[in-house]
């Protein structure tokens, strides 16, 4: 019984945290397809904002993707180094220690 109460309490808490993280994201997506945000969802749904954003900002979105890919490439090139311990000059183990 006690175990179940603890389980339920923790589940409830975790669900509340998840709600805090998800509800605002859901709200912003909902706002994106609401015909008139200031009148709320009663004003109906529309895709016109999404289409407008695409018309206005397709290039911007493409540019963001390009920058992300370029960053990824540089990070991979820079980050691909052999393990530090295999390089004596940067504090690796003495060669005699190695198997």
């Amino acid at each position: 019984m006690r175990e179940r109460l603890i389980f339920a309490g923790q589940l409830l808490f975790t669900l509340l945290v998840a709600a805090f993280l998800i509800v605002p994201a859901f709200l912003s997506m909902l706002a994106g397809v609401t015909a008139n945000y200031f009148r709320g969802i009663a004003s109906g749904f529309t895709l016109q904002w999404v289409i407008q954003v695409w018309d206005l900002y397709a290039e911007t979105i493409a540019r963001s993707l390009l920058i992300a890919v370029a960053t990824l490439v540089v990070t991979i090139v820079v980050g691909s180094r052999p393990p530090m311990r295999s390089i004596p000059a940067v504090g690796g183990l003495p060669a005699s220690w190695k198997r």
Binding site: T14, L21, V78
Partner: protein
């Protein structure tokens, strides 16, 4: 080419990038900070000038509060998710890490949708209490925004640490007669100590420097990143902006270094 030479050459891109994009700009920033009319006194002004000092204290307190709340929330949720298997667990974990995808500005926007003038909280309190509660643009709104992006990071670190715990220790404690609270207090939480230190350091440093969220929400409150921004855009006070940047960087770096040494180097892996 010998193997050692090849291995050293592999470090060249890293060295070049670190030099060009980190060491040189940082050095330049430190020099600019001391190049104004007051010279090195620009740095002491961070602590001596009341407005700068108040902002620094404000920022540190906000970052500390964010870190403390994040650790408590993430510890409870992380332990729960890693310890229990139930239907929907994977979805719940995905939901808790979902905000990682959003930049600070979007987080700020979401806090406005939640607690702004047209927000959900205002709407509900307006109907229930007859008075709209709006706190998106206050320090509470900023706190909520910082929680929003630090919870997912810390939960991931804590879940990974819980997975690595040795179940034999808990079983031993239980066999010796310890109840669930005692097991948590004396075995599980101490064992998670390094993970708490590491993720606290990251949460704190991120909250100190978060700009996007502050930019959308902190219209009336002073936090360090906003102060730096207004110093060099509105006041064109490049020297002070540089000195404040160095100060901000120094605080964050000290916290990360502390976290790293106290937790045995998990910080880099988690960041």
């Amino acid at each position: 080419m010998s193997r050692a030479t090849f291995l050293r050459l592999c470090l060249l891109p890293l060295a070049a990038v670190v030099m060009a994009f980190f060491v040189l700009p940082m050095a330049r920033l430190a020099i600019v900070g001391a190049s104004g009319e007051t010279g090195l006194r620009a740095y002491s002004a961070i602590l001596l000038e009341p407005r700068y000092r108040a902002t620094l204290i404000n920022t540190v307190l906000l970052a500390a509060a964010t870190t403390a709340a994040t650790i408590v929330i993430a510890a409870i949720a992380g332990l729960f998710l890693q310890r229990h298997r139930f239907p929907g667990r994977a979805v719940l974990t995905a939901m808790l890490t979902f905000p990682l995808a959003f930049p600070g500005v979007v987080v700020g926007f979401m806090i406005i949708l939640l607690a702004g003038r047209q927000g959900l909280v205002g709407d509900m309190t307006g109907r229930l209490l007859g008075e709209k509660i709006v706190f998106a643009y206050s320090i509470q709104g900023l706190f909520l925004g910082y929680l929003y992006f630090s919870i997912p990071r810390v939960i991931l670190t804590i879940m990974a640490a819980v997975e690595k715990l040795d179940p034999a220790l808990e079983e031993a404690a239980r066999a010796l007669g310890a109840g669930p609270w005692a097991v948590h207090r004396d075995v599980i939480l101490p064992a998670l100590g390094p993970a708490f230190v590491a993720s606290s350091a990251i949460a704190f440093a991120t909250a100190m420097g978060a700009f996007g969220t502050a930019f959308t929400l902190a219209t009336n409150i002073d936090v360090l990143p906003m102060l730096i921004y207004t110093e060099f855009t509105l006041s064109a006070n490049i020297t002070m902006a540089a000195a404040l940047s160095v100060g901000l960087g120094l605080v964050a770096w000290v916290i990360l270094a502390l976290g790293r040494s106290l937790s045995g180097g998990v910080v880099a892996a988690a960041g």
